[in-house]
Symmetry: C2
Subunit: 221 residues, 2 copies
């Protein structure tokens, strides 16, 4: 059985879960308290991070390496276009969310409000929270600008870039940090991706100490 | 003419320069003071970062998206193996350096000592410098452990993972922050990669206010 070591609200784990579900790969989800630095887990991934995927005798880490592996080994449905320049645009946007958005928004909101409490690292730093709350507006506007010109974030077809973005936004939506009224194009895009069967497991997540808000799993949010 | 917007000591730019040179793609290097947020540059890359590559009518950003594009469009020499699991290992290690090593070492040493001065952001924070100087030892040991089992970092052939690692280490070597005596396997590996023709442009870099140390371009360092 394939196995994914993860934590529920990690956007990097969610990106992999979405890609696995979209490609109809069954996987056993195992929650990993990676911050406890369990030696057995560190043998699986010396970087000490989730996600880690065991699949077909391989133990893979780093979310983007995992997603590219899944794309190369399970062709249907494709989540990358064929044209190299279009693929570069997908990868640019994946990095936009996994690097820039993660640094400016996810780490400032989700990690301050949730991860600090779960890992016993104290209270949210209000300067960081304010900075994340301000910065997310710029990112929603940038997504809106892209979606004015394209059906999906990287072009006219659904790609890894959409799952990377939806992974971050869904984790932030769980803690009510996304203003869906800011940008109608982004809300429409999220409604489309949220209604996909691949999203069901994400919408069923429950995190102890952080009750799921009622709009979170609602397809008419 | 192809054009790379870069700064000389950026490890992300160096990774792209090494891949371009290895694949014998001629490119005009243009230094970009990205921190000045020139609107023309922000149009090329709204993330406001280098490297940005103009090639064949495309404007590409994010170093890994650029390297994958070059790998997909210029087949010789290949810098990724064919087997998907081996490719995942290359990508895991690229991220090891571009994410973990960057966060724990490069940003703590190079950005404190050099980038802060160049961008007018003040003096190095000694806590960060100490942390980076301590943490690089762990990374050199991890590289040594990999190189005990493999000819190159990701396996028996030279790959993008080696260029990612060499890009970070060469930038740190410019400011004398690499102890080459710590791990003989790492020194041997660096001597091999440093002597490649693709490395010449990197070894010729000169940064105003930071004279090149004599061992930096020496192949018998």
């Amino acid at each position: 059985m394939n196995r994914l070591y993860h934590v529920p609200l990690s956007p990097f784990c969610r990106k992999v879960r979405l890609v696995l579900a979209e490609k109809k790969v069954e996987v056993e989800l195992v929650e990993e308290r990676y911050w406890e630095e369990n030696p057995e887990f560190l043998r699986r991934n010396p970087a000490g991070k989730v996600p880690v995927l065991r699949i077909g005798g391989h133990t893979l880490s780093e979310s983007q390496a995992i997603c590219e592996f899944l794309e190369e080994t399970i062709s249907e449905p494709p989540l990358m276009p064929r044209d190299p320049a279009a693929r570069a645009e997908v990868r640019r946007l994946v990095m936009w969310f996994d690097d820039k958005f993660h640094h400016e928004v996810t780490s400032k909101l989700l990690y301050e409000r949730v991860n600090k409490k779960i890992t016993g690292k104290g209270y949210p730093d209000s300067t960081n929270v304010k900075s994340g709350a301000k910065r997310i507006k710029y990112h929603l506007d940038y997504m809106g600008w892209l979606l004015d010109q394209r059906r999906w974030l990287a072009g006219d077809v659904l790609t890894l870039a959409d799952f990377a973005a939806a992974a971050h936004l869904s984790s932030l939506d769980y803690i009510r940090d996304v203003d869906w009224n800011r940008c109608p194009q982004v809300k429409d895009w999220y409604a489309k991706i949220k209604s996909r069967p691949a999203f069901r497991s994400i919408l069923a997540d429950q995190v102890s100490g952080f009750p799921q808000p009622s709009h979170y799993a609602d397809l008419d949010f």
